[in-house]
Amino acid sequence: MNSDTNTDYGHDLLFGTFVTPTTHPVHQAVEQAVVADRAGLDLVTFQDHPYVSSFHDTSTLLAYAAARTERIHLAANVTNLPLRPPAVLARATATLDLLSGGRIELGIGAGAFWDGVAGMGGPRRSPGESIKALEEAIAIIRGIWDTTDRSVLSVRGKHYDVHGAKRGPAPAHPIGIWVGAYKPRILRLVGRAADGWLPSMQYLQNGLPELTEMNRHIDESALAAGREPSDVRRFLNIGGQFTSQRRGFLQGPPSQWAEELTEVALTYGTSGFILASDDTTVTQTFAAEVAPAVRKLVADARGTSRHE
């Protein structure tokens, strides 16, 4: 393998699902979370679009689904920041993390669909403003969670002004802040401030190879901020179909998926694969036939490269 084009941040692999938070049938999304939990996946995630009335409120759904599952971690994919004030978001996430025994993570984005946001009474932000707001929000969220810091929490930003707010509750485990991002400016924020990066395959206009350039923005920014590139876990939201014939990328039998995802993991350092699935059988197949196979192939490859 050529180390110039191959990236590996050395994280163990995580596998999860991306479930539509539909309200029809009412409990479908919860049931899909339960399926993912029982199947042994690491993560179940829900998108957050409060302006879409046919979806559940993601924060309520996360709480309800967390209470009905046992081992799986849960996250929004990704939280719509402009409609979720950061201090309350931090406390709500920590509350759930405490209730669930440390199973909540925080997927977050700068916002999109601004007409929808504005229609719900939220702010309309330009791309630059939304990134600035996200950076302020991350500072507030981390400040709220950090109860070991005895100082007054003060983040006097342009979009959020928190001064003298009490800190707490402290979460049960170090909650990962995972940001959905694509453009250089926000990728640099990811490198500086986030614990994870959560792009979707379908939004990569030029396909997976784009990840290399995006990774570079994150890595450079992390290093410049005195962090390690490996401080930022790389996720990928994926979509596909299990078919008996090989038809294309993630369109084929589970063994083909395993090879393809292994390739992605070893080429782009992706260590979290989140599959869009509202289908019990697909989720179970992913958990039983793809996840372990990718883990094994990646371990083999890592083992091999160590000996080379």
Binding site: H24, V52, V88
Partner: protein
């Protein structure tokens, strides 16, 4: 004395647990076990503590009956729009147990913000509109999508002890709560009066706003003081504030104090003064329709009844194919409730009455404009009564997809129709022309007994040995005689079946039809094909009751040779998989379906030619032929009210415009004989004679005169009572 007539409820407000919210949940779960009606989580996000909305949602997932409230929500902490969505999800996920209490209780709170928040939350729950806006400086909506659609609005209460807040509660809220140690009994009386005045000024009924106090342990032991709160100050929710870990206090209050308070209040008040009947808001009552005794809906039905102003109305007003705007939908949970609903309907003979099970009626008007609907959709239990004899009891409200799913693990199936969303009640009272009909007969041919509520409100069972005439009539004309609540069927041993979907090039529809007709009548009974014929295309769906690939292929082969195949898919699958091909969708029918039906023994050249003209005319967008015959014809025509046993084909045609469709359909009708009532929406009285041969019709009319002489049940092929019946009998 001030009392608003609400049943007394006891609740607990859980304090503490900000760093260990699990303790708060544990106390809430215990409260439910002990019999509390309500648990309240005060929000602590202002003080670095737990988020009440998360606690409420988590607790809802860990409890089953108790109402769960997120309380003392500072109206500035979150966008009210998002709070509304959260409350909506809480309400949906918990099965209607959610509740919101706004107001942090701090004096000098900006009530303008609270009022804006209430307006936003209410607007987003109004799903009768497609977009909502709400002006405001802090909380606003601009063309937002209301929703999610709820069964019951989330109760919205206000918390606080000052005059302005009480007045606001009187104007807009569903309830008001104050801390007793803060207001005191005197203060409570004063604020109640303020609230009442504000409510009246706003055109509301003072009973719309429930009154609640939160007690600290000091107040919680004085039974007579608590009775006085209920009797003299109209308090109907008594909420005890308890710290996490203080289980003893929780127990003492509910075991010793609560029953004494309840008893004392009941003794002091006139009998029957306290009730759990919901009091609807003035703006909800304003949408009521004339001629309905809304305030006299029987007690057992009030909790589930839906009026036009209710949140659930959008979900129940229309059916799968028909838009509707009924005045009242009664949703029963058991046979006794059905009897009370029928009694209520008898007092409303001047209004249309629809009977609804699965809401897929075409001939049956299971919704209407301004009338009543008796909806038995909740009676959907499916129980195996006798494993060896394969006897299964199925509630009228079950859907065929669920029936198939439940029977499948036993290796059983019951032929119903081609669509899993159809309800048992409508189909099993009319016929049931399904994918296994040629081998196993109609759905009604499997019926062993039916339980029905008759027009006089009695619940009867009809079978081969009891109420035999009704048993005969229920199989083909059931909707005229009562509301079926459950059916007992003997089901068939069927596991895997062959399932084919074939698409043909069919430029000449008449030729295709004739060929199809020839093949179909000679096909072995295992195969039941349904044909959809369009302009240039024929789609064939066929089930073969066999899991042997050779049998399946050999029986399908003659069909595959009718015309050039464009697409084909043949699989071996469980019957249940075919019934579950399409997921449940909300019922948002608009307008009226226009559907025509005819039976024919064979597809004659005349029938085929008239059909081809109809298809080419464009007057119909749906032309479907189901094959019958076989086992269906083994049953004698007079054995059931479904009499057209000799037909081999049942045609169903749908169009957009009745006049236009009829112009092209009449020639087809002339080439056929009789019709299947479930596919005929024409209300022309001639159609009754097409549905029932005269001997059958006479017999039905005589029974109708006995069982429903006032003709209460007439929404589906009304059989008018025989007028001369009493004279003949005497």
């Amino acid at each position: 004395m001030t009392n608003y007539g609400h049943r007394i409820r006891f609740g607990v407000e859980v304090l503490g647990g900000s760093d260990a919210p699990g303790d708060a949940v544990a106390l809430a779960v215990l409260a439910e076990e002990l019999g509390y009606d309500l648990v309240v989580f005060p929000d602590q996000v202002g003080e670095g503590g737990a988020d009440a909305l998360s606690l409420a949602a988590w607790t809802a997932a860990r409890t089953r009956t108790v109402q769960v409230a997120a309380s003392r929500l500072d109206a500035r902490a979150r966008p009210a729009s998002v709070v509304a969505r959260g409350a909506g999800s809480l309400q949906l996920l918990s099965g209607g147990r959610g509740m919101l209490v706004l107001g942090s209780g701090s004096a000098g709170e900006d009530l303008g913000v609270v009022e804006e928040a209430v307006a936003v939350i209410r607007s987003l729950q109004d799903t009768s509109r497609s977009r909502v806006s709400s002006a405001g400086t802090y909380h606003r909506l601009a063309d937002a999508e209301p929703g999610p659609a709820l069964d019951r609005e989330v109760p919205l209460w206000l918390y606080g002890a000052d005059t302005a807040l009480a007045a606001l509660a009187g104007r807009v809220a569903d309830g008001w709560v104050a801390d007793l140690d803060e207001v005191g009994v005197e203060g409570l009386a004063g604020l109640n009066a303020v609230l009442d005045r504000a409510a009246i000024d706003a055109g509301r009924d003072v009973r719309e706003v429930r009154r609640s106090v939160t007690l600290t342990s000091g107040d919680a032991a004085d039974v007579s003081a608590l009775v006085a709160l209920v009797v003299d100050h109209g308090v109907s929710s008594v909420v005890l504030r308890v710290r996490t870990g203080d289980a003893t206090q929780l127990r003492t209050f509910i075991d010793d104090v609560a029953p004494a308070v309840r008893e004392g209040a009941e003794r002091a008040l006139p009998p029957g003064a306290l009730s759990s009947r919901p009091v609807r808001r003035a703006d909800v009552r304003a949408r009521r329709r004339p001629g309905i005794a809304y305030d006299h809906v029987p007690d057992d039905l009030v909790a589930t009844a839906v009026e036009p102003g209710d949140a659930a109305f959008g979900k129940v007003r229309s059916t799968y194919l028909r838009g509707g705007n009924p005045g009242l939908v009664l949703r029963q949970r058991n046979a006794a409730e059905v009897a009370s609903a029928v009694g209520f309907a008898r007092e409303h003979m001047h209004l249309p009455l629809g009977i609804r099970s699965g809401g897929h009626g075409i001939s049956g008007r299971s919704t209407n404009d301004g009338g009543l609907v008796i909806d038995v959709g909740a009676l959907n239990a499916i129980t195996v009564l006798d494993e060896a004899a394969r006897v299964v009891r199925i509630g009228a409200g079950a859907r065929w997809r669920d029936v198939a799913r439940v029977l499948q693990p036993h290796g059983w199936a019951l032929s119903s129709g081609d669509y899993g969303g159809v309800g048992v009640g409508g189909l099993a009272t009319a016929g049931g022309i399904g994918f296994l009909a040629r081998k196993h007969g109609l759905t009604i041919d499997h019926l062993r007994a039916v339980e029905m509520v008759l027009a006089d409100g009695t619940l009867v069972r009809a079978s081969a040995t009891e109420n035999t005439e009704l048993f005969w009539a229920a199989r083909g004309a059931g909707a005229n005689f009562g509301v079926a609540v459950a059916f007992e069927f003997v089901v068939d041993e069927i596991d895997q079946v062959g399932w084919a979907q074939l698409a043909f090039h069919a430029p000449d529809p008449a030729a295709y039809l004739e060929a199809f007709g020839r093949v179909a009548v000679t096909t072995p009974r295992e195969t039941t094909p349904f044909l959809i014929l369009g302009q240039g295309i024929a789609q064939l769906m066929a089930m073969v009751d066999s899991s042997d690939p050779d049998v399946i292929v050999s029986q399908l082969q003659p069909f595959a040779e009718i015309a050039p195949l464009m697409q084909q898919q043949v699989v071996i699958a469980p019957y249940a998989a075919v019934m579950n091909m399409f997921p449940e969708t909300p019922h948002n029918g608009r307008g009226e379906p226009v559907s025509r039906s005819a039976f024919t023994r064979e597809i004659t050249p005349g029938f085929a030619a008239a059909s081809a003209d109809l298809i080419r005319s464009g007057a119909s967008h749906w032309y479907q032929i189901r094959t019958v015959g076989g086992a269906v014809a083994d049953v004698a025509p007079d054995a059931t009210a479904y009499a057209h046993r000799d037909a081999n084909f049942a045609l169903a045609v749908m169009g957009a415009n009745a006049q236009r469709l009829d112009r092209w359909f009449e020639p087809v009708r002339r080439q056929s004989h009789g019709l299947y009532l479930s596919f005929e929406s024409d209300r022309n009285p001639d159609r009754i004679a097409d549905a029932f041969p005269s001997a059958t019709l006479d017999r039905l009319r005589r029974l109708k005169a006995q069982l429903d002489p006032d003709n209460l049940f007439q929404d589906n092929f009304n059989i008018t009572p025989a007028r001369d019946h009493t004279r003949n009998a005497s």
